[in-house]
Amino acid sequence: MRVVVAAPQVPFEQGGAEVMADDLVAALRTRGHEAELVTIPFKWYPGTRVLDQAFLWRLVDLTESNGRPIDRVIATKFPAYCVRHPNKVAWVLHQFRQAYDYDRTDLGQFSESPEDRATRQAVARLDRIALGEARKVFATSRNVADRLRRFNGIEAEILPHPPQALPYREAEPEGFVLSVNRLDRAKRVDLLIEAAKQRGLPVVVVGDGPDRERLEGLANGSVTFAGRVGSDELADLYARCSALYYAPIDEDFGMGPYEAFLSGKPVVTTTDAGGPLEVVRDRETGLVVAPGAGEIAEACSYLTTHVDDAKAWGRAGRAIAERVTWDACVDALLS
């Protein structure tokens, strides 16, 4: 089958969505399909610019390439899923959240002006049209599926995707808590830094992003910032940590817990973290606490000092993560 994976790309940014799109292309090729990633740079501001981007995707003709038909398009995010194709499947990592659950919060982008309000409605209308055209809509988590139903009345089948391929291994915990995230405010790494300062917890923060400078200032030397690291180093950090901290605000899916689980490590998350709560279960695969520095400090301390519980919960998590495979995903997406 000739398959296009359609995904937007924010130049110079790399996160879970980009990893997932690359891995999907690789998984398709491994299984004997011709697969290609098609992307358009995404700039969603100011004002109505977000609609220009959707229009670009609407104009792209992916029905064939160089005279040969394209059998299937798998689109992952807004506005890529606005592309038109008779065999379009949407595998939604997330919608344009500024128009939905982020609206009228610090993370939103639309003001109360009539033009901004109408732009937000135009995004919702486009979602209904574009996702309504898809032969099937999948969501990477129940959280994403719930938003599609709540905001757009669209039913989606839940299809989680495997985390990035790393040389996962297990090792004895060395007493530090790991955070692996793009560093922006929504990931709430600041809560972990506050927790680390309260208890003197060893913490390693992996990742880069627009919030890094603020976070480094907040940590004031109490936390190790490793920046972006390679696959081997990341797998090594997962293997040696005592637990992963992963508590974005209402995250869509979150690969972090799966990566930690495949390394046999439990996860600390918060009651409002969204997608991660579908796999991080309190005292089964990690600890789920209120989103406060004190509670997070308590949970992290527990896992660094109760090694047997941490190991047992990490293994329970691994059993969950191992059930999510590319074979199952590719079968569902091409069926």
Partner: protein, 403 residues
Amino acid sequence: MRVAYYSPLPPSRSGIADYSALLLPALRERIEVVVAEPGKRAPDADVALYHVGNDPDAHGWIVDALERRPGVVVLHEYVLHHLIAGITIGRGDGRGYLEAMERELGVPGRLLGLGVLDNLLPLLWETQPERFPLSGTVLDRAHGLIVHSRYVGERARAAGYAGRLWRVPHPSWPMHAVEPAADVHGDPLIGCFGFLNMNKRIPELLEAFAAFRRTRPGARLLLVGAAGERFDVERRLERLGLTEGVERLDYVPEERMWSLMAACDVLVNLRYPTMGETSGSVIRALSLGRPLVVSDVGWFAELPDDVVLKVPVDEHEVDVIEAALGVAADHGAPLGRAAAAYVAREHDLARVADAYVAALEVAAGGDAVDDAVLWRIAEAAAEAGIDDVSELARAARDAGIVS
């Protein structure tokens, strides 16, 4: 964003006043709303929302305000002849009436209007308003249109309305525990609520009920609502020998109405001709999970088949009403359950308020958004040497990018 809200409100006794009393608090949770009042200065707002019904006393001032400033119209019923006659002839403006008639029917309309003004023809808004809806005057000034039914939407389009149109269901009242009234009885007890007149098919209902009662002598019919001026209910009851089997109540307060409805085994809400209206009584009946018999016309016909029993308006109407009463009384439980689930799903107040906000936000800012996007498309097209940007504008419209 701020909305100027034009509607009759309680204590005005109208379905639209009840409607607004229900909707307003939910809207205010989502958007800034300023309620306009008759005789006062129009509120400053980004968009105005006009609730329009057929009663000139309740809605005349709202149409006046719409004349001064176009906005989003909620067309609660499609036939507005009575309203238009009230705000033209009723104010000594015969010429305005003729213009409205001419707009709808051309020269023949003007001639018919002259016949009415000269007392050569009966008053059309009383005798056959459905043939001359006269909604064009309102549609011409609507910057956007909210309707409750496909029926009204289609009629507005057929009348030439080409602007934005949203279909927003009538909201349902949040359900609370309702104690069935203990002072009304029947085996079964049939209820009919609302203004009593020919349009509500009361003569046909009474005839069907009389036949029904011959096989079910314990049955009683509860008629709740004021009777029309030229509609003598009591005489009809006497003629049909129904003085024992029918209980009449005039206007009742809201809480009492709920408890009376809850006491009924079957509810009936018939209509013909339809003016394109929805019915708050129907929504209440469905919310209560009571089996309901309606006429198979207009908005009522759009209710799902597993939720209500629909009676076609034809020569068998009376027989079918009688049969439907029996079916609803003896086998109505699944119908009632489906009705309650349907209303909770489709007529949920929060969902309706969200739909209103979406419509108002698009009405207030949609043109500016479309202009901004189309301008950039045109600019890029021109720079790329594409002269005919109208093709790209069409593509943007087809693609759902602009509305």
